[in-house]
Symmetry: C2
Subunit: 383 residues, 2 copies
């Protein structure tokens, strides 16, 4: 029964029932007074989440549309960008930049590793001619479950002077992300992650450096033109008809988010991730993150045990236990499985997922104490 499923994938994530229902209101005029008030409230709330004093825009598109908006508004054909990639989504951002004519230099790391800030600093220091105009990086690489240290990398890029374009699609709210303090110029986030609302919106925050680049940028753009978004937001509108129900849902989700508080949200995600990692290890599994200190607080990637196909494990978990987890993506598609723990999720869901994972592994012939995962996770939180 689909409705009984426990959705433990790194997005879309479960939506709180009250937020689900807030999308079911009667339709309104998207250029009327109700929307103007809602847009103003949502924008103010988003700025607090992005930890920025600058601008935040709501776009009707998937996260990938937001990445495209970041590129086509601030990077001109022929400009050089340094892509720092640690997985599928870092690669995607680089591909988008190449598609629109940027000259992209790649600094890529093996899947499972985080970017080395020292190497980034060395590369930027060597760029004495300031040819690198932008650095492209993912804060939380959803495909591998590894995150980059933007508190360290951000200031390095700012010192060099390049613009820092950050894919924060799955990181915002699941981990600290201080746009202004850390020197990020463009940050993209997605609705269907820790914001606890359905997919269909993305949020793009830009500071004054990025806005200055927007004005100069020669890349053609129309639907995703942030200059138009800025102009219409001043009247509490979007340039094109937005996904109205999702904006209602954003408004209500932001109230839940503010009630919890950013620091509590980061701490909760850290706690749930620690529980998941401890549980996986206690079940004899190996984490995919090369360095556990850089393992994601939004999603945990786990190597499939020898003799078990990822697809079979996922199918058993789904069909027998109604727990939905993800496989890998890209070249590691079949090598790992992933447990998402971001957004509307707490200790009980982690325990449920680890318990069913233990049962499934035993059923698939692994020599494992199926309760060991749950017990280890409980120990993390004082059990």
């Amino acid at each position: 029964l689909t409705e009984r499923q426990l959705l433990m994938i790194p997005g879309p994530t479960p939506v709180p029932p009250s937020v689900l229902l807030s999308g079911a209101r009667p339709m309104v005029n998207h250029r009327g007074p109700e929307m103007a008030k809602l847009m103003a409230d949502c924008t103010a709330g988003l700025k607090r989440v992005f930890q920025t004093q600058h601008d935040a825009f709501i776009l009707t598109c998937s996260g990938t549309g937001g990445l495209e908006a970041a590129v086509v508004n601030t990077l001109s054909p022929g400009e050089k960008a340094l892509s720092v990639s640690i997985g599928v989504f870092g690669d995607r951002l680089a591909t988008i930049a190449k598609t629109y004519g940027a000259e992209v230099e790649s600094l890529s790391y093996p899947y499972g590793a985080a970017a080395d800030p020292k190497q980034i600093q060395e590369r930027l220091a060597a760029d004495t001619g300031k040819e690198i105009k932008a650095v492209l990086i993912t804060q939380n690489e959803t495909s591998t479950g590894v995150c980059n240290d933007l508190a360290t990398i951000g200031p390095m890029v700012r010192e060099h002077g390049a613009r820092l374009i950050v894919d924060g699609i799955s990181s915002l709210l699941a981990m600290d992300s201080q746009m202004d303090n850390w020197g990020m110029d463009v940050v993209v986030a997605g609705s269907q992650k820790a914001f606890m609302i359905p997919p269909g919106l993305c949020f793009v925050a830009v500071n004054d450096r990025a806005k200055e680049a927007m004005e100069r940028c020669t890349t053609p753009r129309f639907y995703l033109d942030l200059r138009k978004a800025k102009q219409y937001l001043e009247q509490g509108q979007t340039p094109w008809t937005p996904a109205v129900p999702l904006i209602w849902q954003l408004g209500d989700a932001l109230k839940l988010i503010e009630a919890e508080g950013l620091q509590n949200s980061f701490a909760r995600h850290a706690r749930l991730a620690a529980m998941t990692r401890a549980g996986a290890k206690a079940l004899g599994l190996t984490l995919f993150a090369a360095d556990e200190s850089r393992a994601s607080n939004a999603v945990t990637s786990i190597r499939r045990p020898e003799g078990i196909a990822t697809a079979d494990l996922r199918k058993l978990m789904r069909d027998k236990y109604a727990v939905v987890i993800s496989g890998g993506q890209g070249k590691i598609k079949d090598d790992i499985f992933r447990i998402g723990h971001l957004g509307f999720v707490g200790e009980k869901e982690i325990l449920a997922a680890l318990g069913c994972l233990g049962l499934a592994l035993k059923e698939m012939g692994q020599a494992v104490d199926p309760a060991a995962g749950v017990a280890a996770a409980m120990a993390v939180v004082g059990g």
Copy 2:
């Protein structure tokens, strides 16, 4: 009270309560089996609505994103396009084509008029070198309430050989639109119009001629790349995380649409439009459409009466009677008001809107029998 509003604008349109609630289901994996079944069902339903045997894709974006998809996938920089525009949305399609480097020749008509098929035929006949690669046209021009005769224009363009790219955003289901029979190569529709679902999705149908152009097209594109949409649809997926609740809503709305039947839907919209026009005229108002036989079945544009500001009329209708109507757009913003009558709407809503319009006009000092509009509309349907 916003919830009591009667929304009579040309989109977003009211959503049936059962469809509203079908978006409030618990979230699912967008790459799981539930979505694959739903995507297949929705795609089949959309093809029936587009009256095409070819491909239809669901994109997560506003209608303008769909227009951009039509352009960037089939029109290459430097290719010549003939823009036939009768209003704001025709102009927008031309602007998008210019933005992405097409050489656009404009055949523009005064706002309120429809395009003259004979002039289009003459222009195409003069293009003996077949330099015109595409014709861009709006079926229903939402900004003026006038529609173009695509049953006549379509075959003319096909005979010339140019591709016909049609903005059908507000026309599909509100009027006949035979993609295959009339020779349309790309047709774009929006969710928030006669499909009766919220904004956030658009639908783009392409035939083999358009697909061949897609393969050759050199315009850079990523988020809106229909080649990727096609590739993923074969697995029942979208390339990027879609607005899942809107696709559930589409699935349920398509059931309502199929239960009514296309011909009944066209007839209902024609009937409601005739009621609205008759009612407006009986209230002493002047239709904006230069030729009533080309007035839209989706939205009726009415000149503001002398001495009344459009904004004041709209405000009184909204604040006192909870009836929401639209003003004009672009250069005729303050000259007209518009009553939308597409999607989830019937005779009773037309009568209610015309009755409140009569009351408002009288209150604003017009010498008018306030009940005359309702009576005239009733006479249209045998009252």
